[in-house]
Symmetry: C2
Subunit: 527 residues, 2 copies
């Protein structure tokens, strides 16, 4: 950005500020999650029917059409439910969104700058909104925010935008804002997964944690060990590597990284359907056989194949809920333990550490569930991110030990807990009990978890939404702008859930726990 | 169809029959609803990646692109979930679907010929499937059936089709196969309504009964009386007339008619929000004021506006659950009754008959809920179709009286009854107790009803599906091919519900009542 462009932009911002008559901070602002700063005026604008996007001033070329496609999706969303058949007025018409992206890169790296500024002025000829961002992924968030400002007006029969001019500056509080899906307990068709990704972008979540495999099924193709997906539920309940690439690409183009997990050694019984020697024995099938090199060769093959598909900085290696009794009751493993002078705790630790090394050799940083930290935290590779789930007191210990942490305490952020309320999702604070600023920075974010034992394609959407959106604001919005009392955000979240419904996402009513159905007839916002 | 074309077709059918080695009637045929006749062989075909459609031999021009768009939707569905990256083989590749439509008309009239023949041969160069139908709407059903034969193969990485050659002849048992949605108890966004329509076509339902308005809300625009939609739940929970036209067009292009209902005089309290004089009094607001001409002027205005949008042969005028106490407790109505020497029963009858006359004047045949028949059946216009809902014994009486009937007995076919099982939906027989062939023909079909008191956009799909599909087979498939024991169709319906899931429809598991969630981890077909 050269000097005169900077001057022009500063002038533009100043003019927009001056144009705001009565600027109120967060009065009935229908945005979710709430941006860092918002100011607005009182004027109504019309959105031109064939509103266009320009990129004047960008150093980003959009070769892959990431931005152009996102703009079209935004236009499709705001025009989805009503026929726009009003007559374009001659003034106060927003004709264009100019998007200025300051870096040419389009790789979705962890920690990439996701900030953006959005201005919607009331003066100018032609009148155009501007989104300015360091990266295209910041610009995508800006388009989401812009889309939430637009609505169909039943008098003009046009898309309108109220309370202009708008000046919004925004940046996420945490770089990791995740949602877990589980395709091992119930297979999820790719169409459903893509729907989850779309909805994530509406509340600015940015990591899809794909718990692909578990003891019940192994639905994904692993070219290095092609019998592994013999452990799928059925012939059709599978993902090819090309499907995985398709999902990753779909997500990345929307600013969402995909975190792939293999949960070893505990949650892996399905691996042995194709390769029975991975089981301790035919009668004792979990955890994976720690005594065989083949076990680690398979892990290496999987992570090697993963590294060609899942380009996120992290791989998740699980490591939770390891019941080692099969290791001590299986003679050849017991013998191996004795020969190596190890007890089962040692073997569990060595399994996890050896797996970590394999993942690192393929270029990954590692995420492990918190049991690994609780049992042998000081042995974990320093690249480890500890993924909390059991309670809310482990994060302070993790960051005090100098490791990074993701917060997912099950009492508040497990979506399969149908008695967990949206208020609990909203109020769950990842930095609770962590006062040191440097330690706070080690909490890279949080994640809500949609475990699949009792959900499938038929009810995943309303089990995720709107509760995941409540957590999304906690993870996005600056701490000082978060409500201390959920009653202050109830109506805004209710409107956001109605917006999700309008976009075809089956978000459940706020009233009642989990995925409650509406109790009686009434308007959407009162459910 | 000229003579040589007929000869060629007969020869084609004969050759296809001869090519079938072992022809078994209904062994593991993954089609829902089951066609009238099905025969097939044992050979596998590949679907060419860029399979095309031709219309050689058609007298139908597809000016509105109804067929072309339907073909593209079918291709999109069969390629939705997996990347097709296999290499096209050189033989046994189906390159084209030739669709022969014998009538040029593209109006979706009630009782239009929906039959089709589908042949998928194993010989020919090029190899192509053929759908033959009298109308484009029959051809659409043929495309649905063809789409159900196709699946992604994980070895070839192509779309395949098993058990060829196929010869299918098909025609619906009933001309009216309906599903009711209710936008008055909870508003449904247009996006959601279109999703319901899409899913209806997968099981060959063909009437969307739109219960638009009720006592709780009046969401639709009526240009003749523009204050009526003041009774909507909120400013945004509304449909413009253009939206209604859009919905009707969307449905008709998919072979689905839209039946619009105003439920008078009982379920109409919301009308008075915009026009309070429609209420008997401010404190007694239902039924509509029978004593005022204005009431009937408004009904005339609504039906006049409807007639420009809803082109289906029928309008539904409701007429159920009329509690007339407001008429006797409101002095000016009581006076009017006395002056006209009527009691409330007379007034209820006159209200219904007068409304019928208005609807007929706008070109409609009428559908009324069964209370009108139960109370004054001999007075109803002979164009009346009586819509059963209370019990299962009224249909025989209706047809014995020479009127037409639609069956929706609530104990079996009300989707809001969560204790109504899919088995009950499947076994509910519309012709029960009707033995006379001519009387049987007066039962034009049946309808499953998704009343909206306790459902909204968040749970409508899994409350409708798969139970509505169970009823759809009852309404489509010839009586002699229907199972007498639902255990014979359980696995086929389970596969169809998994297909719905794959297509993004949140159809619930079969196990458990209503919209149960899956009880435990497992394959889709075992839920």
């Amino acid at each position: 950005m050269n000097h005169s462009a900077k001057m022009a932009q500063a002038l533009r911002l100043l003019l927009a500020f001056l144009a705001i008559g009565s600027c109120i901070a967060s009065d009935n602002i229908d945005l979710w999650p709430m941006p860092k700063t918002v100011s607005h005026g009182t004027q109504k604008l019309y959105i031109k029917k064939d509103i266009t996007m320009s990129m004047v001033g960008s150093t980003y070329s959009d070769e892959k059409s990431i931005l152009k496609d996102a703009f079209q999706r935004m236009v499709d969303l705001i025009t989805l439910n009503h026929v726009i058949d009003g007559i374009n007025p001659t003034s106060m018409v927003l004709t264009c969104v100019n998007v200025v992206v300051h870096t040419p890169d389009d790789e979705l790296n962890f920690g990439a700058d996701e900030s953006y500024n959005l201005t919607v002025p009331t003066t100018g000829d032609p009148l155009y909104a501007q989104i300015e961002a360091q990266t295209v992924f910041g610009a995508l968030h800006g388009l989401q925010t812009f889309g939430q400002l637009c609505y169909f007006d039943f008098t003009s029969r046009l898309i309108e935008l109220n309370s202009a001019p708008w000046i919004i500056t925004d940046t996420p509080r945490f770089p990791y804002r995740g949602l877990l899906i589980d395709t091992a307990r119930h297979y999820l068709p790719v169409k459903i997964i893509k729907g989850v990704i779309d909805a994530m972008t509406y509340s600015k979540l940015n990591v899809l944690h794909w718990h692909i495999v578990d003891e019940q099924s192994f639905p994904i193709e692993i070219p290095s060990y092609p019998k592994l997906w013999n452990g799928s539920y059925s012939y059709s309940e599978r993902y090819t590597m090309s499907d995985a690439i398709d999902i990753v690409r779909y997500a990345e183009r929307r600013g969402v990284n995909v975190l792939a997990e293999i949960d070893v050694p505990g949650h892996a019984r399905s691996w042995g359907v194709g390769y029975p020697s991975l089981w301790p024995s035919d009668s004792c099938r979990e955890p994976l056989d720690v005594s065989k090199n083949f076990t680690f060769e398979v892990i290496d093959g999987i992570l090697s194949d993963f590294s060609k598909v899942f380009k996120f900085k992290f791989a998740h290696l699980g490591g939770d809920e390891v019941n080692t009794s099969c290791w001590t009751t299986t003679p050849h493993i017991e013998g191996w333990l004795n020969n190596n002078h190890m007890n089962v705790s040692d073997a569990y630790r060595d399994f996890v550490l050896r797996s970590q090394k394999i993942a690192i050799s393929h270029g990954y940083d590692i995420i492990n569930w918190e049991e690994t930290f609780n049992n042998f935290g000081d042995k974990l590779d320093h690249k480890t991110v500890v993924h909390n789930w059991l309670g809310e007191d482990v994060a302070p210990k993790v960051v005090a030990a100098g490791l990074r942490c993701i917060v997912s305490n099950q009492d508040k952020w497990y979506l399969d807990h149908l008695d967990a309320s949206w208020e609990g999702f909203y109020m769950n604070e990842p930095l609770k009990g962590i006062n040191d600023t440097k330690q706070q920075q080690l909490v890279i974010g949080g994640e809500v978890c949609m475990w699949g034992e009792e959900i499938d394609a038929s009810d995943i959407e309303q089990t995720i939404w709107p509760r995941a959106a409540a957590a999304a604001e906690r993870l996005w919005t600056p701490a000082e702008k978060l409500a201390n009392d959920t009653r202050l955000v109830t109506s805004r979240l209710a409107r956001f859930r109605c917006l999700l419904n309008q976009r075809g996402v089956a978000a459940a009513p706020l009233a009642g726990y989990g995925r409650a159905s509406p109790a009686e007839p009434g308007p959407c916002v009162r459910q």
